[in-house]
Each structure stands twice: as structure tokens, then as C-alpha cells.
């Protein structure tokens, strides 16, 4: 064999072996200089061509060039490979929190009132409104409240002047609505009420109620039960049960208080329901004929039901709030989490 050809063969073996073992950029560069550089091994082989017999030169030359090409390609490929490996780690970090903007929330009381309106709107109730400051006539007299009734006392009711008070319930809206419209009347009236209660965990001197009223021919207590049951389930879910207990109010007869099965414990008994399994929501009943007398409805033709509901109480039950003052402190650390 031609010695140069053999040398090329050896060169091929050592070069490829060496290439495999390289890793750093500097190594690759040294390798390139050593084998492929102007003074490198292959170049020096080519220079030695003159020592080869002329008829063999093309063959040896081709072999040298072939080796040079192969080594160049291999080096290239190794360099690429190493390049990928050496590339710095990706800077994309999807674990970062998203960019957020200020986001506000509706007050829990508003959410409750809006939901109550939506439910009753769907049941065919219009929304009616009346003034927060009322005459004694609308707040008491027309609702059949006796002159001597303790609710009229200045210790229980706020007065602006003699005969003008802050309404103690939303019931005056019943009277104002019936005065202005003949039956059928079907309304709810959300709004603020005022009672002279010293603030504590369950009392605020101003709070929210929703009043309901439906008067037509043949409206019955059974209808009242139906509407409150539907409301309870739409507000608190289909597991909630309702019970009506007889009670007394001057403006309804029969009068009832109604309770929902405790949504905190599912009716098993807990602190919220004082272990009774029931939470009191509010009062209801059939409109007293004396009230119809004040608005000129004939009780022998028309009958109707009325109900109230405490918005604050319902809100506290929905959000498990244990102190009514949290509703009115408007502490953003609380509100933004509700």
C-alpha cells in the first residue's frame, strides 16, 4: 500500500476517535487547526503528494480530499450538536403569575338584592319603590297598627318630626302601590328600613328588607306557601325546606313567620340555627281586611298575601357572615374576599 494512503487511513481513525471525545468549543477549534487548518495534518498530507508516484496521485489526492470533506462535515455536525447543548436554558417562565388589574366586587348586600329581584321578576313580580322617610299614616296607621303600639315609640322608631318617621319596614310600599293601582297587584319592594337599635352583632339601625305583595281575586295562603318555597329553593338550592309558623302582625291575618332549613348544617342543628335546624327569615301572611279598607279594595272580592324578608340576614346566611357589622364596615380586606 502507498504509505501516504495508509497514513491517511490512520489519520481518519485517530481523527474520528478524537472528535468523539471533544466537548468544548476550544477543543473543536484546536481539532480544526490540527487536522483541517492550513498547517494541519490533511494539508500536510496533500503537500506530501509530490512524493507519491504520479499515476497514483489522483487516487491519493482524492482520498485526502474525501477525508477532509468527511472530517469537516463531522466537525460541523458535532459543532451543531454541541451548539444545541451549549445554548443557554430557555428564559420563558410560564410559572410567573399573570398580570392582573384592579378588579372590584359588588357588595354582598347588592348581590343579594339583585338575586332576589331576578328571582321574583322571573315569577312575574314588578319592582316597586317608596320613600325611606314616611308619614305615620303609611308606616303605621294604614297598616292597622294601633295608636298605642310599642313600635311607634321614640325608643324604637326614628322621627324627623311629629308624624314623620324613618320607615321601620318596607310595608308602607304596599299601601302606596295599592293606592295607585287596582288589582291585580304583584310587586316586590326592596329598600332600607330604620329602627332605633344599638348596633351589635345582629342589629344595625339601618338595614335592608324586601317586601312582597300579591293581590287579586282568589289569592290564598296556599299561594303564599308556594311562592316562598320557590324563592327558597332558587335562592339557596333545591335542598332547602320551608316551614310556616303562626305569628302575629297587625297588617296580616293569618300571620306567619317563615323559616328555612338551616343551610349551614343542612338542618342537623348548629350554632347558627341554635340547634333547631331552622333559621328564621321573616314574616308573611294574608293582607288584613283593615289594610284593604285603607286603600279602597273590597275584601269580599280581593284577597292577597304579603311577605317580608331580611336582606342582611339572607346575605349573612349566604356568605356565612357572623356579625352584621362586617356588612357596613366596608373593610376592603373583607369585601374583596367575599
Amino acid at each position: 500500500m502507498i504509505p501516504l494512503l495508509k497514513k491517511l487511513e490512520e489519520l481518519r481513525n485517530t481523527a474520528f476517535e478524537e472528535l468523539e471525545s471533544l466537548s468544548s468549543k476550544a477543543d473543536f477549534e484546536a481539532f480544526r487547526v490540527k487536522y483541517l487548518g492550513r498547517k494541519g495534518e490533511i494539508t500536510s498530507c496533500l503537500r506530501e503528494l509530490s512524493s507519491v508516484e504520479p499515476d497514483m496521485r489522483p487516487k491519493v489526492g482524492a482520498a485526502a480530499n474525501e477525508l477532509k470533506k468527511e472530517l469537516t462535515e463531522a466537525l460541523e455536525s458535532r459543532l451543531n450538536e454541541a451548539d444545541v447543548k451549549a445554548k443557554p436554558k430557555s428564559k420563558i417562565d410560564l410559572t410567573l403569575p399573570g398580570r392582573s388589574h384592579f378588579l372590584g366586587k359588588k357588595h354582598p348586600i347588592s348581590r343579594t338584592v339583585e338575586d332576589i329581584i331576578d328571582i321574583f321578576y322571573g315569577l312575574g313580580f314588578s319592582v316597586a319603590q317608596g320613600p325611606d322617610v314616611e308619614t305615620d299614616y303609611y308606616n303605621f296607621d294604614a297598616l292597622n297598627t294601633p295608636d298605642e303600639h310599642p313600635a311607634r315609640d321614640i325608643n324604637d322608631t326614628f322621627y324627623v318630626e311629629d308624624g314623620i318617621c324613618l320607615r321601620t319596614h318596607t310595608s308602607p310600599v304596599q299601601i302606596r302601590t295599592m293606592e295607585n293601582k287596582k288589582p291585580p297587584v304583584r310587586i316586590i319592594a326592596p329598600g332600607r328600613c330604620y329602627r332605633k337599635d344599638t348596633p351589635d352583632a345582629s342589629h344595625a339601625p339601618n338595614f335592608f328588607q324586601v317586601e312582597g305583595l300579591y293581590v287579586d281575586t282568589n289569592v290564598t295562603f296556599a299561594d303564599l306557601k308556594g311562592v316562598i318555597n320557590v324563592f327558597a329553593r332558587r335562592m339557596f338550592g333545591s335542598d332547602v325546606k320551608v316551614r310556616f309558623r303562626p305569628h302575629f302582625f297587625p297588617f296580616t291575618e293569618p300571620s306567619a313567620e317563615y323559616d328555612f332549613s338551616c343551610m349551614i348544617c343542612g338542618g342537623k342543628g348548629c350554632r347558627t340555627c341554635k340547634n333547631t335546624g331552622w333559621v328564621e327569615i321573616s314574616g308573611a301572611g294574608m293582607v288584613d281586611p283593615a289594610v284593604f279598607g285603607h286603600v279602597g279594595y273590597d275584601p269580599s272580592i280581593y284577597s292577597g298575601y304579603a311577605f317580608g324578608m331580611g336582606v342582611d340576614r339572607i346575605t349573612m346566611l349566604r356568605y356565612r357572615i357572623n356579625d352584621i357589622r362586617y356588612l357596613y364596615d366596608n373593610d376592603l380586606r373583607v369585601l374583596t374576599k367575599l
Binding site: P97, S100, H101, F102, L103, G104, K105, K106, H107, S110, E114, I117, Y121, L123, G124, F125, V127, A128, Q129, D132, V133, E134, E148, D153, I154, F158, Y159, V160, E161, I164, L166, Y194, T198, P205, N206, T220, F221, A222, D223, K225, V227, N229, R243, F244, R245, P246, H247, F248, E253, E257, D288, P289, S303, L327, Y328, N330, D331, L332, R333, L335
Partner: protein
Amino acid sequence: MNISYNWLKSIIPLEWSVEKLADKLTMSGTEVEAIEEFGAEFDNIVTAQVKSVEKHPNADKLKVCEVSDGDHDYHVVCGAPNVAENQKVILAKVGAKLPKGQHIKEATIRGVQSSGMICSYAELSLGEYTDVIVVLPDETTVGKPIQELFGEKDYVFELEITPNRPDCLSHRGIVREIQALGGGKLPVPAIAIEETGAPIDKEVVVEILNPDDCPRYAARLIKGVEIKPSPPWLVSKLHAVGIRSINNVVDITNYVMMEYGHPLHAFDFNLFENKKVVVRGADKNEKFVTLDGLERKLPEDSVLITDGGKAVALGGIMGGLNSEVTQDTRDILLESAYFNPVRIRRTAKAVKLSTESSQRFERGADLENITVPLDAAARLIRELAGGEIATGIADCYPNEYRRISIPLTVEETNRLLGTELSLSEIQSILESLDLLCTKTAENSLNAEIPSFRPDLNVPADLIEEVSRIYGFDNIPESEVLSGNMDVEIPANIRFAKSAREFFTVRGFDEVVNWVLYNPKKLQKLEYDYKPVQISNPLSEDTAILRPHLFGSLLDRVAYNLNRNVEDIKIFEVDTIFESAGKGKLPAQSLQLAGAWTGNAFKQGWGNPTRAVDFYDIRGLIEDFFIHIGYSNYRFSALDGDAFLDSEWSLAITSDDELIGKLGKGSSKTLDVFEIKQPTWLFFIDVPKLLGKREYIRFEEPPKFPPSDRDLALVVDDSLKVGELMGFVNSLDEKYLEDIRLFDIYSGKQVPENKKSIALSLRFRHPERTLTDDEIDNAINSILNRLKSKYKLDLRE
């Protein structure tokens, strides 16, 4: 009111459990608010006998007693003056726990060992006799747990009696409810009374001068009684219902009241100067000293019981100190009367005295039956205090009670309830309540109303009785039919909802504040308004109804800043009030308002932020108006405001009417509310805005593309951009569709006291694409007119 389960069972043989009774009562309108187990606190307390009593060697007032419970003898040191040999007593043994929490332990008292305690009623929390021990009857067996003396374990029901049901304020009244609910029959009281004294009319004469306020007054006389502690059964019965024992006679009047519901009063008759009772109305400014020792000024016409000379009781409310039953009392005049509820209520309210008695008379006592409790009490007094009962009752009853009769039909009952009750079902319910019914036709009846049911007056009252005894649970539940009635929601409620949606998405938290507000802060700001003043406020801080939401919002800003909340964006949409003059209801209207302090953007990585400024709040309001589809407004200079800094604030007007304001809280405002950082505010008068609101109309989208040209104008620093843009708009340049500010610059690139305004002008022709020439012409025309109006250069 408290009711004892055992007491009820002493009236009827009740088979219902405590739970069943509670449920039945609650579900028929007598709400059981709590049930307390009673009697379990007497462990290790037994009956015993005193075998010997010796003086304590080291203490004059103490005695050392040998006490036996039958099994063992105990050394007990006792301080009671009435302890004596052979007495049957109550012994608390070592290990007993007294109701007030005291544990009885082995003790050494002044050097003498004591293994227990001989008890007084006070120590057992049963009564007021503190210094004397309870002496039991001689026949008492020793060694028995005292539960046996006081009856078996009891349950006390705390009941809520509604104000219309005075008849339920007693055990017999509750038994009548139980009767109606099917739990037994209320027995007719049969009181055998031994009248051994002189005829009553020889002893006392009753006269009523004010029969409207006192339609009936009955009295019995018991002479020669002995006032002493009551026996254990009576003490414990009263204790169960929350009444402390005083002495045998007073305890009996209380006991009878709790049994029958009728308040009685016992006088020491020997303190009467005349042998008569005269009932009269109080004179103007008359004064009277009640049992509690207080001299009270009475309203005119208050009912006074007199002995013909001096007043001895404030009728229906409280007895007088001058005729009180004491240890020395021998002759008892026992009163059972009926007083006008309205009169009692007025007097009780005026003298600020609410007693068990006044509460019952205020609601209405049982006029027809006042002699029944009188007899029951007289019989018991004789039994427990001895004495002789004068023969007969001094019963002054000028106008006899007339029962009313209420008609009721089956049809109206079912029409109101949604039931299908028959006449016989209705009748049997009413009769179970002791109302006498007469059938008047196929489907109707008349019910006769006794005096113990003053609440029953019209058919609806009877229907209520039927419904509650029939059971609300048994009334069916109808399907809800929404029907075809028109349904509407007022515009202000819809507006509030829409506003909540916008402002919450824009990062504002909604707050709901009290309407009751503090006028002082508004005064300090010299805010001009007509206050709605509350004449009887809870406090000075809540004396008005707020005339503006800014106050509440600023309060909340301060509150939250104090709690380290740094960025505050809050809004409120609620009612505000101003007085409309005396005798008129105030003007009330809906206001939308907000406050913003802190950063303009939420701080976080990669979120460059800065403090909120005027243009944030202005942009917010502009966007809100886009949200609700409102464009009929403009901003104009603000001419002074109590809350806002005029330099940094604008008025929002519509057709020259003010509909809101926005801007920076003035430094004075921030001082008053103790806020230490710039705070931006806005409000909108909702009714005014709704009045100006226009309908949104559909617009075809443009068919041809727009051409946008930018203009950079160098103008005087003092020129207001809004004015310049307004001027361009007012030129009515054909095809100019929109003009928008996209940059504003002052600095090195422009001369001093100048600024560069970069405007983008958008042109569009509705029917074709505009040519460059047309646009150039339009721009030139605009520029020429601008140049003739303002000093300006085009910036290259």
C-alpha cells in the same frame, strides 16, 4: 314567658313528650324559644333532722348542730337564728354543688369542723330569705333527695307570646292551646272555699268612680293570717317560672297569676284608714309612692286604688308602699280587678314601670272571670297562712261585659286559605278553643267570643284561628303561576345594576354605607344643604340622613388606609336626602359616586404603575358614559365645590344642567377626613342623568375606508387642548369624521413656553374613497382657519 312542663301536667294528664309539646306549640303560634332542664342542680342535697343544737365555742352568732340524714350524723356549723332541735331541714352534704356554684366541702369554721350546710331558700336560689333556714313540715321523711320535695325533674319552656294573645300568659291558657291541639281537656276550675268570716259587705265596700278605666273590681278579705316562708312546692313552682319567693301571701298571688293569668294584689287591710275601696282617676300632677319606694308623678286619670282617703295602689301596675304586706300583716284584702288596657299602657309608659301585672292588663285581662283566680288565691291563703275568709266577694261590676258574635262562612275560610275545610271541621276547631259556635246555615256559623279572647273581632280573626290549629303544614302549597301581567323594573334599579357591572370590572369595589350620617364633617366643609334631621337620633354621629355619598366614601377611604389597604377604588350607588321643608317628606334621589386613591394600575411584576391622576378619573367617567350609551354631556369648569379642588375638577353638564362632578378632593376635605394622600372623586346625579338619556340607535358600518392624517401643532403652553379640538370640531369640515389626541409634548424639541399637540384626523366619504387631494385640501383648510384663530406652527 316561662311555663313549667310539670305545672302543665298538674292541670291535665299530658301524654306528649317535652319535644312533641314544644313542636306543637311552636307550630301553632306559641313559639318555644328555649327549653331549660330544671331541678338537676340538687345533687347531694337531702332532707335531714336537727338532733341537737349547741353554742359555738368561739362565735356568739354561730351554732354547732348535730344533723342526721337517717344513715349518718353530721357536725354542721350554722348561723341561722331560727335553727332549733328536732327541726326537719334541708342539708347540703359534702360534695353538693349549690345552684350559685358553691361547692360544699369539709371545712373548719372558727375552729370547729363542719361537714355540710343547712340551707336557706336563698342558698338554693329559690327565694329571698337569706338569714333563715328552710324549716320543713314535721312529717317530712329524712334522707330523701330534695328533688322529691320540689317535685320531679322539670322542663321550663321559654315562650314568645305575641301581643294579641294575653290569654296565653298562664299555664291554664297554654293548656287551652294544648286542648285545641288535641292534647287533653282543660278542666273547669272547681274551687271549694270555706267562708268562715263575717259577711264581706260588713267589712269592706267597693266603689268605682271611673268605670271606663276600671269596669270591675272584686275583693276578698282574709283575716288573721300568718306571714311566713312558703312551703317548698310553692317556692319551687315559682322558681321554675322565674319568680323569686317573697312570703306565703305574695307568693300565692304570683302563683295564681301564673296559673290563671290574672294579676292579683294583696293589701295589708289594717293599713286602710277606711273600711272601703274607692277606685278613681288620678288628679293632675298627683304623686304616689309605689312598693319599690319611688315617688312617681302620675299622668292625669291614671287608675288609683284608695281607701276612701289615701291612695294605696297604682291600679294594675304596682301596689303602694303604705299598704304593703309585711311580716306583721294579719288581715289581707285581696284584689282581682280589670283595668282598661289603653289606660294601663299610658300610665305604665309615663311612669316607666313595666310589671308582670301591667303587661297583662295592657294586653287585656279576662274580665268575665276575675273572681275565679280570686277564689283560688283566697283558698290557698287560708291553707298556707291560716286565717278566716270573709263570706262573699265584694264585687263592683257596673257594666256587664257583652260578648260579641262573629259570623263565619266556609267559603270565605277556604277562599283565604286555599283549603277545602268543611263547616264541621271549622266548628270543631273553634270549639276546641272554647268559643261557643252556633250553626246559622248550611255553610256558616256564629262564634261567640268570651272576654279572654279580646283579639277576636272579625271573620279574618277566626280564619286565623282555624288555620293555625288546622296547621300551616296541612295547608297545600300552590304552584306559582307567573301569569301574563306586565312586569317592570324601575329605571334607577336597572341603572344601579349597570353601574355596578361597569365599576366592578374597572376595579372598583362596591361599598354600602349607613344612611344615618354625621353632620359635623359636612359642617366643617361648609357643605351647603338642607339636612334631614332626626329628632331622636341614636347619637350625634348619626343625626342626619346623608345628603351626599362623598362623606361616606371618604370615611371608608380613611378607614381602609388605616388598615394598610394602599390602593382604594370604591364606589357606591345609593339614596341621598335633603329636606323639603317642615311637614313634607324629604327629597330623596339616587346618586352614583366613587373615590380612588393610590396607584393607577395594580402594582406587580412587569406592570409599570404611577399614582392615579385626573385623566384616569376623567377617562373612567367617559368610558362609563360609553358603557351606558350616553353622549349628551360635556365637561365644564367647576365653579367652587365644598369637597373638590376647583383647579383639578370639572363639572359634568347636560343641556347646561349639572349632572355630576369629578376631580380631586380638596386639601381641606382631606384634612377633615384625615386622609393623607391625593384622593380623586366623582359623582353622578342619577335621576338627572336618566332624564337626559337618549336611546341608542343603530348605525350602518361605513362602507369605504377612512384616511387618517396626523398633525403636530406647536402652540402656546397655555392653550387648552380641549378648546383647540372643540374649535376643529366646530369647523364642520366636510368628511372629517373624528379627531383624536395621540400625544402631547413639551421639552427640548419645542421652544420654551410651547407645547406640541399631535392630533390624528380621520376623514371619510360615505360613498367613495377620498382622494389625496381632497384630504390635503381639507387639512389645509383646517390649518388655515386654525392659524387665523391661534398662534401656532406646524411641527415637522
